[in-house]
Amino acid sequence: MLIHKKPDVLPSEITPPEVFENRRQFLKAAGFGLAATAAVTSGLLSIPAQAASDVKHGQKIGRFTKSAYSTNEKLTPFNDVASYNNFYEFGTSKGDPVQNADTLKPRPWTVSIEGAVKKPKTISIEDIFKLAPLEERIYRMRCVEGWSMVIPWVGFPLSKLINWAEPTGDAKYMEFISLADPMQMPGVRVPILDWPYVEGLRMDEAMHPLAIMAVGLYGEVLPNQNGAPMRLVVPWKYGFKGAKSIVKIRFTDKMPQTAWMKAAADEYGFYANVNPDVPHPRWSQKTERRIGSGLFSPRIKTQPFNGYAEQVAQLYTGMDLRRNF
């Protein structure tokens, strides 16, 4: 039996890899070969502070039903789902969020509803939990980078939140805005993206029964690194569409400029539907690596609309999906 011992060094005490790397390069350039040697050795000996088996579990969610929309594919283990995340507000390496997201305070939390609605209002996370019966939805999640997971989300249809928000006839799009608090999120102190993180959906996409607001996974409240306390999940789109730690929802008549569109409009479009036939300008989208399958399993084929074509393809009839990527 393998026993994973807690490291004696606090994760916060370990030099971040970029700093370490920086230091090592500097030393080498300066010609202190031996000093560099020492630095390299210490780097090699520092075993990752957070072993996969250490990921903290959250509070159990009392009641939820199982949804018929679930896939029966093999689940990606909790440790992988909660330790391999793109959440740039906590750092750009996929191991960063699990290390840094402790500072996020998901309670108390309110979400404000603005724009083309009868009356702007705010709702507390407690009331969001009571807005609709919670369901477990086991969805595939395909990242634009070419990897995927199968995640048992706990949440409710986004349409329920929309109905509660009472949008007016002017509402053609929805904008989802994430928290951008430099006190809680070290990553937003660095201008990697134009903070806050913004995502958006067309109204008909948002009303689709497969689009959900997730408040948990694996029967527990969302881990901070997965976007606590509430995040968007749109399973037929690339993962970056799923705005995390949402604080504001705005209904508008104009297509929102999302954070990734602003960062690289030629690489990330508004629709971002999973599509093996439309490559990312820098890499192919034909295949994906299923996380949790180990070192020796090959990639699998990526499905149009991430395998949800039957349910969602009609939303895009007549649209050129190569142009509207």
Partner: protein
């Protein structure tokens, strides 16, 4: 500081073991199921990073001589260069085996269509003749051409850094560090070359040193 022959042998042995540590670490982490949620990416990234580090270490030997006048470290250059190729081979094998499972049509398309893959692949291809001609017999056989051939290390280094730069999604801080180090190393060379008449250059015993071991 000029280590004795015996000391050099010890330094070389130490460096050899040190340079194997990144590989040992991968085995250790693999054995403990600790290669992250995406082990293929982890191995690919790690071997690529260490190939680049070895390359920059190799390229730092001459600037160290130019800046300090020390020459003995030049004798370590062949080993660090070969370790660069060793990690590049592991990196490339991970790519064609663990990442793409010898799916040749996909691999070819990936190399041809995607600039970041193409520059990385080019760097690897260009490094191959350098690895082959790194031994003493080839050095003697090629004579003056050997030095010309090994100038390839400069384009290789630039391609390797580009490979890293073009791969990242948005946060370019890490590749930027490598680019700056490379700029510093190449800049030092250019600066001393411009000085032209500098004593450091005239006294350069590199050619002889290369022949010695």
């Amino acid at each position: 500081m000029q280590p004795s022959k015996k000391q050099i042998a010890w330094i070389k042995a130490g460096l050899f073991i040190l340079a194997l540590m990144p590989l040992a670490r991968l085995f250790w982490l693999g054995f403990h199921d600790d290669l992250s949620a995406n082990p293929v990416e982890f191995v690919e990234r790690s071997t690529g990073t260490w190939a680049l580090v070895c390359l920059l270490v190799t390229l730092s030997m001459t600037p160290i001589r130019l800046l300090t006048g020390m020459t003995w470290q030049i004798q370590l250059r062949r080993m660090t260069g070969l370790f660069m190729y060793f990690y590049a081979c592991l990196h490339f094998s991970t790519y064609i085996w663990l990442d793409h499972w010898f799916f040749w049509s996909e691999i070819t398309a990936d190399i041809v269509k995607h600039p970041y893959v193409l520059v990385g692949f080019s760097a690897f291809v260009l490094a191959t003749p350098l690895a082959i001609t790194s031994n003493r017999a080839m050095m003697l056989k090629l004579g003056a051409n050997w030095k010309k051939l090994h100038m390839l290390v400069y384009p290789i280094a630039i391609l390797a850094v580009l490979h890293f730069w073009w791969l990242v999604k948005k946060d370019i801080r890490e590749p930027l560090i490598y680019a700056l180090v490379l700029a510093l190393l190449l800049g030092t060379r250019l600066y001393y070359k411009k000085l032209g008449s500098s004593r450091a250059l005239r006294a350069a015993p590199e050619a002889q040193l290369n022949q010695q071991h």
